[in-house]
């Protein structure tokens, strides 16, 4: 691997990301899968870095899941998106940042489509007006939330309490980065670092002390693929893709996986359990799995937030071995204690995959 070669490509795909004043929209599914991730994003941006991030409770799904599952026509998804832009406009913002990768791809695709076919934009403006009497300006800038954590990565590193380093050996942790397909595969120029060698997560890992692993199936889809998972008959196909990725990264003995998509961490985390049950195989050390994180969770960890406040107890693969490696302290007794000390109850432990 020639690192300078990658740097050359990264230099070609840089974005001028505005520093402040963002309108933030959430993902449909992330709060269920990784409940601490979006909260941590706002916490870091607003309270740690003192930036202006506005949120509005009236925003909805971007329609991306339905669009990718082929259940709604393009005009519908465009009108939904137009309404989101209207909310941003009404709030007085011009920079739009979304939590979800498929939303990001969806917004970019729609804006590019309107650029190519302005008559379609006119039609959508009419439809939005008829539907809810709203008008919108197109955002000056659309970013994915990982673009912003990438932009702030060094500010986060300056304030970090922990680094992605194995405290027992002093070696950087071996980190797999996985980029959601819709981040830059559709529009390579819209992603930090492009589509073949995206830099958005690599930059965070490097800044926070870890070592990035480039394994043969790095570019492969996590296997979610919307209707490939949602239709039960297709799930074998979904898990086969995930399995392929784990088989490919296995020889590198990764310490952790960082992702920037709603679906990827979920499937890479949960399918490790399913693979263990089906094949009797686990990919971490001592029968554990490889812990999978969102970038916000990792940012929270290095900044010293309590792992249980980050919602890491909702991961299938146990995160404790990694916390021990980094030297992050946690109270095992608090693992299943929710907000306001509510008892979340203990989950049943799987048969093959070792969990704490």
């Amino acid at each position: 691997m020639i690192y300078q070669g990658k740097q050359k490509i990264w230099a070609d795909y840089q974005k001028e990301i505005p520093d402040d004043h963002w309108y933030y929209v959430r993902s449909c599914i992330r709060q269920n899968f990784f409940p601490g991730a979006e909260k941590m994003f706002l916490e870091i941006c607003r309270n740690v870095l003192k930036k202006d991030f506005h949120e509005n409770e009236n925003h909805t799904t971007c329609g991306g899941i339905a669009y990718h599952c082929d259940t709604i026509p393009q005009e519908t998804v465009m009108t939904i998106v137009a309404r989101q832009f209207a909310l941003m406009t009404e709030a007085g913002y011009e920079n739009y940042v979304c939590s979800c990768i498929t939303s990001f791809g969806n917004y970019i695709e729609i804006l590019e489509t309107w650029n190519e076919f302005p008559e379609l934009e006119t039609k959508i403006r009419e439809m939005l007006w008829k539907a809810c009497r709203r008008e919108f300006n197109k955002p000056k800038y659309v970013a994915h939330a990982s673009d912003l954590i990438y932009k702030y990565r060094n500010l986060i590193a300056e304030r970090a309490k922990f680094r992605l380093v194995n405290k027992h050996t002093g070696e950087p942790l071996k980190v797999v980065e996985h980029i959601g397909c819709h981040y830059s595969k559709m529009f390579p120029s819209k992603g930090v670092g492009g589509a073949e060698y995206p830099y958005v997560l690599c930059g965070m890992i490097e800044s926070w002390g870890g070592n990035v692993i480039d394994y043969p199936e790095r570019r492969h889809c996590c296997g979610y693929g919307f209707r490939q998972y949602h239709v039960k008959a297709n799930r074998g196909y979904s898990i086969s893709n995930t399995h392929k990725k784990f088989e490919s990264m296995e020889p590198y003995h990764p310490d952790m996986i960082i992702t920037n998509c709603p679906g990827c961490p979920y499937f890479m985390d949960r399918w490790q359990y399913a693979i263990a049950e089906m094949e009797g195989k686990t990919y971490g050390e001592n029968g554990y799995g490889i812990p999978v994180f969102t970038y916000e969770e990792v940012a929270g960890l290095v900044l010293g937030y309590d792992p249980w406040d980050l919602g890491l107890q909702l991961h299938q693969v146990a995160v404790e071995p990694l916390l021990d490696k980094i030297g992050i302290e946690y109270d095992p007794a608090r693992k299943y204690e929710g907000v306001n000390h509510k008892d979340l109850q203990r989950p049943e432990l799987p048969g093959v995959l070792r969990c704490c």
């Binding site: 020639i2 070669g5 050359k8 492009g194 394994y215 043969p216 020889p251």
Partner: protein, 339 residues
Amino acid sequence: MKDNILIIGGGIAGLEAASQLLKLGYNPIIVEKSDHLGGHVADWNRLFPDMTPAEEVVSRLVAETSEANIFLNTEISFVNKLKDSYNIMLSNGISVITGTLLFATGFSMFDASKKEEYGYGIYNQVMTNRDLEHWFNTGKDARIPEEGPAAMGFVHCVGSRDEKARNPQCSKVCCITAVKQAIEMKQKFPEAMIYCFYMDLRMFGKKYEDFYISAQRDYGIRFIRGRVSEVSENIEGKLIVKAEDTLSGKPVKVTLDLLVLMAGIVCNPDTCKTAGLISLPVDSDGFLKSRDNIADITESPKEGIFYAGACTGPKTVPETLAEARSAALEIHNYISRKK
């Protein structure tokens, strides 16, 4: 006094044209931007179809043009159009007045790193056709171990027939070059497993098909019809290459020690710059536009300006030499007609 003819480019087209023009009694002046003559051919080792040493071709042409004025490390700074001639200022401060210009500016090789998925400049074991010729010439390249690669591959059409890379044209010479280089590697390393990944094989020239048959039958080179889609590196630093075997309709995957990218022929950007100085038109393929692509390939639409070789499109060595001779004759006819 002998007529001056300014030849832009000291590759094989410019040299051959100069050699002919000397014989016809003219005073050719070659302007070459690099520090050596022979252009791309000087970087090559052996030439198909008879494995002629490239050095032989270049040194013969250099010997034949010893009487010509040659300026190395020199470029055209600007051009002033006079009444029936051009005043051309060179970067070395010399100015030339001539009624006749010959573009022998050749081509550029496609920058293989633009095909990001192949990892040129990123994965250690990926090289280009030119790098391999350089190794044939010098024996120096860290990518090729002394005992040779156990398995290696050639990727055809890198930056050719590729609309996304903005080069829809076929580069003509890469198919036969890949087969030539595959045979040469097999001759050096008989135990190596060698693959050629192709879309289709365009074996149009003299004895090319014989080369192909020999590569198949005598050297056991394995041809896989399918474009390489992605290259990555495994933990041992070997390359994992993915393609579709379109004949069986199945994806194939193979681990290789070396991958050679057949970088194609694209228009030389310096040519376009110089052509811009005298408002020469560019054809839809990005190469210089001839007066007529069938009957007048060596003439530009502008009076007194001629072309030879790959500045009008991808060409083989014999095609380029034949065109250079043809251009010299056109120039001779043009000057005779004017007198």
